[in-house]
Amino acid sequence: MSIDGTYYLVLSALLFTIGAVGVLVRRNVLVMFMCVELMLNAVNLTFITFSRMLNDIGGQSVVFFVLVVAAAEVVVGLGIIVAIYRRRVGATADDLHVLKG
C-alpha cells in the first residue's frame, strides 16, 4: 500500500493554481514575485515526482537548473523593483504603466 503518485501531482497542481491566483490578484510587486516562486516550486514538485515514477534521474537534474534560473531571476527582478521604488515610493503593479502604448 504505497502512496499514489497522483497525490503529489494534484498537490502541485493546487499550489500552481494558488500561485497563479496570487499573481493575478495581488497588486504589490514583491508579493507577485513570491507567487511566481510558488508556481516554480509546484513545477519542481512535479519534476521530482515524475523522476521517481519513471525511475529517471533526469527530472532531478532539471530541478537543479530551475533552482539556478530562479535564483538569477530573483536577483535581477529585485534589482529592478528596488530601482523603480527609488524613483516612485509606494508604487503598485497597476501604477507601473510607463511602457503602455
Binding site: 504505497s2 503529489y8 494558488i18 510558488l38 521530482i48 525511475n55 532531478q60 530601482a83 503598485t92
Partner: protein
C-alpha cells in the same frame, strides 16, 4: 527475513502517507494565507513554510540532494532577499487596503479552469502509478547519480547556466548602481 522486510516496507509506506498528508495540508494552508494575508512580511514567512514543506516532500520522494539545495537556495537565499526587498522598498507593513485589485471573480474563474485542466489531465494520465518509500534503484547514492547526470547528459545546460549566472551578476550590478 523476507517477512520482516515486507513489514518494514509496509511501515515505511504508512509513515510516508501520514507525513505526506501533514506536509500537504500545511503547504496548502500556508499558500492560501500567503495569497490572502494583508501583511507583506507574513506573506514572506508563509512562503518559507511552503518551501520547507516542499523540501520535506522531496525527502519523502528520496531526492535528498534537491531537498538540501532547496533549503540552502530558497529558504537561505531567496526568502532573505525577498525580506530585504520588502525593507528596501518601504512596502506597507500594516494593513493596506489596496493590496488586491478588483479582478477577483475573473481570477477565480481562471483558477477553477486551470485547476480543472491540470488536475484532470494528471489524474487521467498517471492514475495508479505508485511511489514507493524505498527507491527502486540500488547501488550508488542519489546524489552521485545526479552528479553523473549533470556532467554527462546536461553538460551544455550546465555551461549555459554558468553564463546565465554571470549575466545576472553583471545585470544586477548595472541596475543597482546609482547613476
Amino acid at each position: 527475513m523476507g517477512g520482516s522486510h515486507l513489514a518494514l516496507v509496509h511501515g515505511l509506506n504508512v509513515a510516508q502517507q501520514i507525513a505526506f498528508f501533514a506536509l500537504a495540508g500545511a503547504m496548502v494552508l500556508s499558500a492560501l494565507r500567503m495569497v490572502t494575508t494583508k501583511n507583506l512580511v507574513h506573506a514572506a514567512l508563509y512562503l518559507t513554510v511552503v518551501l520547507a514543506g516542499a523540501a520535506g516532500l522531496y525527502i519523502l520522494l528520496a531526492a535528498e540532494f534537491i531537498a538540501v539545495t532547496q533549503v540552502l537556495v530558497y529558504i537561505g537565499a531567496i526568502v532573505v532577499l525577498m525580506l530585504f526587498g520588502l525593507f528596501l522598498t518601504r512596502a506597507p507593513l500594516g494593513t493596506g487596503q489596496d493590496l488586491d485589485n478588483n479582478q477577483r471573480w475573473l481570477a477565480a474563474i481562471i483558477a477553477l479552469f486551470l485547476f480543472g485542466v491540470l488536475g484532470v489531465t494528471l489524474q487521467k494520465g498517471f492514475k495508479g502509478t505508485h511511489v514507493n518509500a524505498i527507491p527502486i534503484t540500488d547501488g550508488g547514492s542519489n546524489t552521485a547519480a545526479i552528479g553523473v547526470s549533470i556532467f554527462h547528459d546536461f553538460v551544455v545546460p550546465f555551461e549555459v547556466a554558468s553564463i546565465l549566472l554571470l549575466a545576472a551578476l553583471v545585470g544586477a550590478v548595472v541596475i543597482a548602481r546609482r547613476d
